[in-house]
Amino acid sequence: MDTKEISGEIVRVENVRKIYHDNGVPVDALRGINLTVSPGDFSVIAGPSGSGKTTLLNIVGTLDKPTEGKVFLDGEDVSSKSRRELADIRLRKIGFVFQAYNLNPVLSALENVEFTMMLRGIDAGERKRRGLVLLEELGIGELANKRPNEMSGGQQQRVAIARAISNDPRLVLADEPTANLDSETAVKLLELMEKLNHQDGITFVFSSHDPQVIERAHRLLILRDGQIVNDKVNK
């Protein structure tokens, strides 16, 4: 196994390039990205549309593979892992929050949260207990039995966050999590994620160009044309 022990780093991205082919024409989506994410980070990758934010997040989240370069998660090189191994890594180490919430429409809020725990083999009683606790913590305990289509966008995104953190991941990747929400709901949701970061030490990496997200981030990475043009601590 090609591993590197990198203490204090959850993510290390080394010289990552991603080339797409658009009708046979190669398009450089990412051009030599180097990046590290440390435990407890609350970082945002910002940049205009098409700058490569989502591509970078997908590669860090092992949903996509780099054309060149390496990605280490918890010191483990994930660039050459099989699909089955990557699914297991995502299950154990990564939580995802998507712009469009992406809850399973046939499951209730509680079942959506339980789903990832079920995939980890947690027994039914335990996952129900933990799911209810999580929903209560996120202020949507009373919606446990509601289906996604019976909830507002903000409520669905809270369920999505509960789902993302249900397996105690090392890292939560949130792709434009506030893009579909009104500003008041977005602020509440960001406050919630800040609280999870502060209280529980959950590491968040966002991709967003929402000023409210950028304001709250501890670290701001500006991506432009597939390159990190700025990486600074947000004050």
């Binding site: 949903l63 996509d64 992406n102 046939v106 990832t116 079920m118 995939l119």
Partner: protein
Amino acid sequence: MIGRIAWRNILRNKRRSLILVVSVMIGVIAMILTDAFSVGMMQQMLTNQIGADAGYIQIHKKGYQLDPVLKNSITDTVPVSRVLAKDSSSCNISERLRTFGLVSSAYNSAGVSIVGIVPEEETNVTTIHNHIVEGSYLSNKPGDILISTATAEKLRVGLGDKVVIMASRLDGSIGSEACRVTGIFETFDSGFNQTHVYIPLETAQQMLDAPGRVSEFVVNPVDAKKTDPIAVRLESELPSELEVLTYKQMLPILVMQIQLYDQTIYIFYAIIAIALIFGIINTMLMAVMERTHEFGIDMAVGMSNRRIFRMILTEAFYLGIAGTALGLIVSAAVYIPLSHSGWNLAMFSESLNSLGVGTTIYPVLGVSSLVNTTVIIPVVAVIGAVYPALRAVKLQPVEAIRAS
């Protein structure tokens, strides 16, 4: 939980699921009822032939089966009667003298098998007395004759009319007898009707100058399942110049046809299964395509390909089970009343009678048919979902998530 998700996914697109369930249901009904009617038809062919003439066991002089002429008849019936006396409570027994001959009227003549019977004994082994359509069943009165409607039409005779029967005697001379038509019969088998007339045994023996001779003893066990052991025992106890034949040996083509059917039904099952598989592939593929984005999310949150594959197969299995259950219910609703009343197919009477079936078919549902259907259909549903499931697991997570 996978099962619960699979079930809810089925309920998402109720119309599509319903169409698939209904098509599975139709497949089940087709399999069960086709099998039940085919088995019923063949059993009727067999029981009709056994009931009309053959009986379950016959005792002949050796060689009679191959050359059924008068000289091959049993001359001494005493040893046979002695052996059969032991079975008088468990078997119904009748003796016959049979020969080929001619039946003539003033208008026409017909080649027939002239069967001399003991009328009251014959009622216990065959059903000819149940098929009298005109007049009455044969009595022991010398000179009475029972002919079929087909023969009556051919000879242009009716009840009370005289006909003459003629056949070769043992010495080669022609024996004849003027008989009066006392009854006209019509069985389910048109071929049989055209070729059989019945006269009292004594009349036959007199006409053929064959006193005491019989061509065959018909032995019908009260419990038909005991046919084989009784036949084996009779074979061992009867004089060696006699042979004991069961209906399986007397009606080999029909028995073979039934055995062949047991094999060929699987070809029919295969045709139904293939049609269903394509229906299931189509429906499940549509369901998978529609949920591409969702599978992407499932993959993102760590659902393995194995679980996604299993979930899709589970959905198909549930659809198969639902369709099978409904199919069994509908089949039962059709089968139960028809198994009592039968299905009247009078419009096809000509062809059915030529097969010796009868115009009313009573379906017979075997346990194997039920088991086959209950097992085959859900398995077929799962097989049909394999390709769509493979398509789902081949999706790249990032591309699947992008799908709208």
